[in-house]
Amino acid sequence: MHAILDHLRNLLSGDVRLILPQIQLVLFGLGILLTDFLLEKQYKSWNAVMAMLGVGFSGFSLWQLRGAIEGGDMVAFRASIITDHFFIFFGFLFLAATALVILLSVKYLEIEEEHHGEYYALMLFATVGMMFMVQGTDLIVQFIGLETMAISFYILVGFLRRDKRSNEAALKYLLLGGFSSGILAYGFSILYGLGGSTNLFSITSTLDKRAQSIAPAGDLLLLLAFVTVAAGLFFKVAAVPFHQWAPDVYEGAPTTITAYVSVASKTASFGLLLRLFQTAFWPAHASWQMPVAAIALASLTLGNFAAITQTNIKRLLAYSSISHVGYVLLGVVAQNDTGLKGVAFYLFAYTFMNVGAFAVVIILRRKGLIGDELEDLNGLSQRSPAAAVLLLIFMLSLAGIPPTAGFIGKYYIFLSLVESRHYWLALFAVLYVVPAVYYYFRIIVHAWLRKTTDPIAPVISLGQTVALTVASFVVLAAGLYPEPFIRLAQYSLFLPFGHLSGR
């Protein structure tokens, strides 16, 4: 008995320690799957409690890892994962998003009459996938992590099986996601061929050496690998022209999952994107700067213009999130510390403000009202002033009006562009705030300035209250006193193999 414990302790102090957060999530996910059978229909919300516990434990382990890596980044499993600041930051972000969405889900699922344990289990598994995406330094770990997340999402998007929109969204997401995964895998295969290894460290060092002999700008194989990998990742983050799944999926999916996909999937994919762009593809950084900038601008343009005339809130937010991708990508384009900090802060802010925005849509859902049309918001300020105020805060933040987190995020993006002398990009970026404000304010107009024909005030459950409070608090706090949050973003900066510090 003692020996077993010792063994366990040894195990936990070794490599396994670094994946403890994931392990805990998996365990709780399995637990939910098991206990779900035992729960009567009216007690299904215990699944949510369980999932929250899992997130809590996972967060605790992650916190401990944070302390453990103060001395330096830790790698494990033959360098196939790395626990660094970057991972800690993103890990917490995923957990936060997961927790918020779990809180929002309970009531929503009850209304949808699809309250099953699988839902929460899949969320936890998706979180595991995301964590591995960011933690992985091996192409296989990254790919499998990505797929775990993606497949979980396909299912979650189609979770309302009796709803045609949900079906269609899931099928579209699956087909296109599979297609893009194929392209990504193709890119990974080329990368593997170039690097001679699946390990990111050795790929990077090989490609660094390779750059000595072949100018990266003319290295077609590398660029081919880049294009295919980038196409796969841009698909996941929904950047133009790989974005088209997003509005449909966002609209069709259960709103809670829309929030989750829009936030977590995007954040995780950006984590992976940064990981790859800053390491393996760094030698070609001069080559990918312009195309990424073009994609960013295209995303801004299309996202903003398409959103202007939408009447469905979820769809509108989908297009708006495409434009947010444009901003984040601009931070990547800047290729400097400020830009990366901006990306981190932006993603952070985006997580909370977007979940918050969707949360307001979620609380509108009730029996007989889907609540995702702009008209459904009418007169919200009279029916539920608190919800209207929160919606206002989130919209201001999404639009980038101070004093909200969204402004600081945009500020950093602009700052990085000015710093890297991309003045024209900066000009475009700031001017696109204007149409963005226009459509965000369409939402506000409906919530605040229109009369309603529907006198029923939305009922907000406890979980939703907590989620909304947390989200709005973070959005406001990061706008009013951004210092600690900027530190957080600063903290997330990783200096892979001296690339950034060498500049």
Binding site: P402, P403, Y423, L431, E483
Partner: protein, 535 residues
């Protein structure tokens, strides 16, 4: 000495707004009392500035400086000089009056209304106090939101359009300004957003860079002012906004643009003569177009508020004209005219509000002959009209005169063109007055309109008093402005003070009563003159 008077002024309305959240919305009168209480309190706490402000001291006073976002160098830095001092006083006065004026005008969503009014105050005060670009920008944007709602919720028919137009216009300008701020920030080593530091550093940069910076800031301010081609948001916003909103919008918000020009754009002007001249010419031409154009459009208006809105375009044209004359008089006149415009146009909007509250229309044709039922209203209205059209002994004249004096030094044609605006100003204002107040009462609905009540008196009479005070004894204003304006002119027009000083000659002894002259008469004065010169 360490004091927090500016923070107190800044946050008093905010405290009021936050506390008001806890008053139940059904308790409408409590909100009214509360809103007025804090509106008035905001004025009270700003009064100590009157005697504690140090006239003639250079630089900024009452400075407060606390770290805010150390990672980017943004600080919570407040401070005022003579220019911002006056604008802050204008803000607190008009704020209290605007809040008071809404007592009976606002019947729906009273709670939100007062909260938003108080928040608006915070934003505006913050803009005038901030000495940190980041903080400045935050306030600059923050204040858009309450204004948007004030127009959008309590406005009239086309309020949604007007509100979003207002928002988008101003936003478009300010985001470009943000870029300019960032560029300045980087140029100076990306360590601080301190406004004086950054502006001082501008002197080291090339003219090309400074020109770009100037235009970067230009749009934000030009839209806010608004200068000629960017003015179209203003009539819509003014027309649709509720009375108090219009008062604040015209009285204070527009001044943020002119303030920006004075505070930021002027120090960024290139030193090179040609580039400088280019910019000034453009600015002056736009101002002149604005003056005349605004006045002309006024003549065609059927809606009182729209008329006054366009008159603002004209009046603000004077302000920008004064600024870009780059002379002490031009600048001082400009600031004084900003204050005056706040008083006069604010009062005009209150006056329209009085009528609107009684008749729920703003169409000029609906009125006529109101002097008969509303004599005190007629008197106040007349005084304000006269103040707005620049009658001496009322405030408007002092401002316009001083501006024109400053402009005249630089270019006589500019001054002459601007005069056209004064003539037209009399035309449209008096015509408006005539159409509403004179003649027999033609519309039966107007026959028994009640005259001003005590509350309306309380909102209008302070403004009338201020109008007279500035018109008759403007010296304190000039004194307050002297020093900051001197510093500004020394910076942007360094040659100005270097010119030789002219002495008004002491009284010459009278020449003998009959100087014999045999030559042709014209020769005489020349002789006298040369004789005097040789002495």
């Amino acid at each position: 000495m360490h004091n927090h008077i500016l923070s107190v002024i800044l946050f008093t309305p905010l405290v009021g707004a936050i506390l008001a959240l806890f008053i139940p919305r059904e308790n409408v009168n409590a909100h009214r009392v509360w809103g007025n209480l804090f509106g008035f309190l905001g004025l009270i706490v700003s009064l100590p500035l009157l005697w504690r402000f140090h006239i003639g001291a250079s630089g900024f006073q009452f400075k407060e400086d606390v770290a805010w976002i150390p990672s980017i160098g943004a600080r919570y830095t407040l401070g005022i000089d003579g220019i911002s001092f006056l604008l802050i006083m204008l803000t607190t006065v008009l704020g209290a009056i605007a809040i008071l004026s809404s007592w009976s005008a606002i019947q729906t969503r009273v709670k939100e209304y007062y909260i938003l009014m108080l928040l608006l105050q915070v934003g505006m005060l913050g803009v005038f106090m901030s000495l940190d670009f980041f903080l400045f920008y935050v306030f600059w944007e923050v204040m858009l939101v309450p204004m948007y709602f004030l127009i959008g919720v309590w406005g009239s028919d086309r309020r949604l359009y007007a509100a979003i137009k207002f928002f988008l216009f101003t936003l478009a300008g300010s985001v470009i300004m943000l870029l300019a701020i960032l560029a300045l920030y980087f140029k100076n080593g990306a360590t601080t957003f301190d406004i004086p530091t950054l502006l001082a550093s501008a002197s080291q940069y090339t003219d090309a860079f400074r020109t770009i910076m100037f235009w970067g800031f230009f749009f934000a301010f030009a839209i806010k002012v608004p200068m000629f081609p960017f003015h179209t948001w203003l009539p819509d916003a003014h027309t649709e906004a509720p009375t108090a909103g219009s008062v604040i919008l015209a009285g204070v918000l527009l001044k943020m643009g002119t303030y920006g020009f004075i505070r930021f754009s002027l120090p960024l002007m290139p030193t090179d003569h040609v580039a400088n001249h280019h910019i000034i010419t453009i600015m002056v031409v736009l101002s002149l177009i604005g003056i005349i154009y605004g006045a002309l459009v006024c003549l065609m208006q059927k809606d009182m508020k729209k008329l006054i809105a366009y008159s603002s375009v004209s009046h603000l044209g004077f302000c920008t004209l004064g600024i870009f004359a780059l002379t002490p008089h031009g600048l001082m006149g400009s600031v004084i005219q900003q204050i005056n415009h706040g008083i006069s146009t604010g009062a005009l909007f209150l006056i329209v509000g009085v009528l609107y509250e009684r008749r729920h229309t703003r169409l000029i044709s609906e009125f006529g002959g109101l002097s008969t039922p509303m004599p005190s209203f007629a008197t106040v209205y007349m005084i304000i009209t006269l103040s707005s059209l620049g009658l001496p002994l009322l405030n408007g004249f002092i401002g316009e005169f001083t501006i024109l004096r400053g402009v005249f030094e630089v270019s006589k044609p500019w001054a002459a063109w601007a005069m056209l605006g004064i003539i037209l100003g009399a035309a449209y204002l008096l015509w408006l007055y005539q159409r509403t107040m004179f003649g027999p009462v033609t519309n039966a609905a107007n026959e028994h309109l009640p005259d001003l009540n005590w509350r309306e008196h309380a909102t209008l009479l302070p403004l009338v008093a201020l109008a007279f005070w500035i018109g008759i004894y403007p010296k304190p204003l000039f004194d307050v402005l002297q020093q900051p304006v001197k510093e500004l002119v020394e910076r942007v027009n360094p040659d100005y003070y270097k010119a030789e000083r002219m002495k008004i000659p002491a009284k010459l002894p009278a020449p003998a009563s009959s100087t014999p002259t045999t030559a042709a008469a014209p020769a005489t004065p020349a002789v006298t003159a040369s004789a005097a010169g040789s002495k």
